[in-house]
Symmetry: D2
Subunit: 246 residues, 4 copies
Amino acid sequence: MGEPRQGDGGWTVTEVRLISEIEVELVRAMASDEAVAEAARVSTAKDRAATGRPVQGLIGALMRERHGSPFEHGMFTFRVHAPIFVFREWMRHRAGWSYNEQSGRYTEFEPVFYVPAPGRPLVQQGKAMDYDLRPGSDGQYVTAQMDLEDGCREAYERYRRMLGEGIAREVARMVLPVSTYSTMYATCNPRSLMHFLSLRTREDDAAYPSKPQVEIEWAARQCEKVLEDSMPVTYAAWHANGRVAP
Amino acid sequence: MGEPRQGDGGWTVTEVRLISEIEVELVRAMASDEAVAEAARVSTAKDRAATGRPVQGLIGALMRERHGSPFEHGMFTFRVHAPIFVFREWMRHRAGWSYNEQSGRYTEFEPVFYVPAPGRPLVQQGKAMDYDLRPGSDGQYVTAQMDLEDGCREAYERYRRMLGEGIAREVARMVLPVSTYSTMYATCNPRSLMHFLSLRTREDDAAYPSKPQVEIEWAARQCEKVLEDSMPVTYAAWHANGRVAP
Amino acid sequence: MGEPRQGDGGWTVTEVRLISEIEVELVRAMASDEAVAEAARVSTAKDRAATGRPVQGLIGALMRERHGSPFEHGMFTFRVHAPIFVFREWMRHRAGWSYNEQSGRYTEFEPVFYVPAPGRPLVQQGKAMDYDLRPGSDGQYVTAQMDLEDGCREAYERYRRMLGEGIAREVARMVLPVSTYSTMYATCNPRSLMHFLSLRTREDDAAYPSKPQVEIEWAARQCEKVLEDSMPVTYAAWHANGRVAP
Amino acid sequence: MGEPRQGDGGWTVTEVRLISEIEVELVRAMASDEAVAEAARVSTAKDRAATGRPVQGLIGALMRERHGSPFEHGMFTFRVHAPIFVFREWMRHRAGWSYNEQSGRYTEFEPVFYVPAPGRPLVQQGKAMDYDLRPGSDGQYVTAQMDLEDGCREAYERYRRMLGEGIAREVARMVLPVSTYSTMYATCNPRSLMHFLSLRTREDDAAYPSKPQVEIEWAARQCEKVLEDSMPVTYAAWHANGRVAP
């Protein structure tokens, strides 16, 4: 894949892979409701074992009153395979997030690009900063698919040609579109994850509703599932309190 | 510019602008050597006016011993016009940096793209993570210029065509290359600026030499000039101490 | 003040100053509603001058949808004179805050201490993490005043005696109570200030009500006044949106 | 302990515990040299398994060139038992650190206080911001021990008396000295730990030597041991590169 081959008419043809998925894989985690309670109890009890108050009540109170720090003593590392435009949004999250992304200077990108699947809403309606999207017509899907696919293929061919001429990766990559897939390691703590989720998921009953682009929301939903599985009490309390990070 | 016009053969032709500059404009600043000394003296003197120790000696000692916090009580806001691949590197700086960048969801990109000027080194030599660049041959420059220019033009035409078909900006922009120019406001403090400069400029006599890509270094050098002009004592002390942020 | 003098019985007597105020002085600021709008417009408009949307509507929308970053391009530097127990709470705010506090290693503390004024609620009622305070009886005020005043005086005498014996400041200060006044420079941006205010002021109509200790709330209220004066539109929008930082 | 008892002369006597240790206990960790390499390889290799370059060389290069981000994908949680003046220094570390400390509002402090052990240097020599300490005379040790011990006992008696009178914990605690022991949970990542260590340990061969107070250095040395044990390659590379955090 990605290797040019001799085409019928004597042209080299690059095969590119067009996909519509965002992959989020949990690499490792150390996070639990118990760790939240344990850290919170440092503030309130002499003895670590002395509980009295059940975890559920304690975590609910912390969330309600926005005592955020007990939710920071944990960690999730995700491996994310997504197009560059998703990483551009993700990396705006600074506090409590750490990133390592594939470098366009040190590596050669593979010919993998994002195209919207047929189900992805395509047409904008509403004002510039407050718009919604609705499905496109069949014609619009064809246009988008063709333009994106042809654009990616041509860009990748140019990329490969420049590399073939000995031009540095850091220059050749300038031609690649923001739909090019890249890979990153992203590490966060439960609190910074909840903050990310509050801005990158769309829920009508959120206290402060957000309108993220769907591609980053797909990624966020996968992270949300990890949070729910590993910290069910925290997750439920966060959701019940308007999905605002404590 | 950017508007399609009727070409000779009946085709619409988009004119794109290809430039090789990174623009950094200082929007506003509140930062001075005196403010550093003033903050440091809170630690050491009862009276704000009581100085005794001249600013130069004080700042030199702070830098040498890496007392960093007095260098945080200031602010610089820059307006930066640069290609997306530069912003991707810049925004990895999280602590003490704030960003607002042009949104591809809320605005339409202009047809302005980066191409390397003839002087820009083009050919990689050395290992993957420790390479240097040397100038390219005439042929390599022609290849790079043509591929980048044609790639940008075609991508922008596709972008415009999708927009013309009613496809949402957040989808159409996926075809645009990372050489597309965007604009951001970036705000930092003197300490976070020094940290940025230490990693994004190349100086052989730095204590920990870095090898940034030249485009972000051009931007960093403009920021460095602002630091030097507004905080000459701090700047000199930072440089004299191996360009490691305190 | 603070100098020991010869007492009646041949003892040295230290005069200490007991006060009940927290002083917050604005040292300098560069922050405005216009700067928020200007930064936000980078995201949405090609031209900085092109406004259309009035500042009020724009800032209201940013606040409602928790677009926080445009509120970071500003700065406030406060000089705060407060007891150590207030600084201990304040410095838990990490993101967007910079601090320089008087050092007990580099300086000698003055004999200034905090005592609750008669109006300060004194008696706890309710559960450990959810208690309220009500005024104390006259007897309780006398007890508190006497114990705090005598405790401070004795501690300061010990401090001075140790210093007089040549013992290092960093050791002698260990005896000083957390009611000892210290001074700090604290710098923040409008967003981090709003976050601080949301946790350190008590308002029943806040979306997530907090119960700060009154001493830090007094400080916070002075900061809040500065925010209101310098950024009235931002302030009003923040308050109207439940006093949750965007 | 801490409970008043009937003394000989009819007075109640509080027994206080005076100790000279700082305890640092590793609660949990998820950190390894392999995780650093794994994150770094995202930048440089397509395949996670594809190593080629041994971990040691890779980590050495990252450290030398200050590629800091791969060192952030790990976590250490420490439980620290230390006097308040140590926590005051520790909590100035903001980036990559999370804290939960015992609350003087929610809990009652135990009568445990710090006093310098005989070996602890006691006398300051040199300039205000550049001083060293040398051992004290026997007389100085007696003075310091007596003043600190008596000061702590009297302060704790006042504290207990106020609590006994029904005065709120948040008021009564104002009389307690900064030598009072408290407990915290502190979580950091390997990079933020190295930064802490660079400022809180004293090594003559460090590139930027620091002069921390010995009590926080004792704590830091225990953290350093944890780093060395869990990430030996990272630790050695950091030390070899002047103990400057990457």
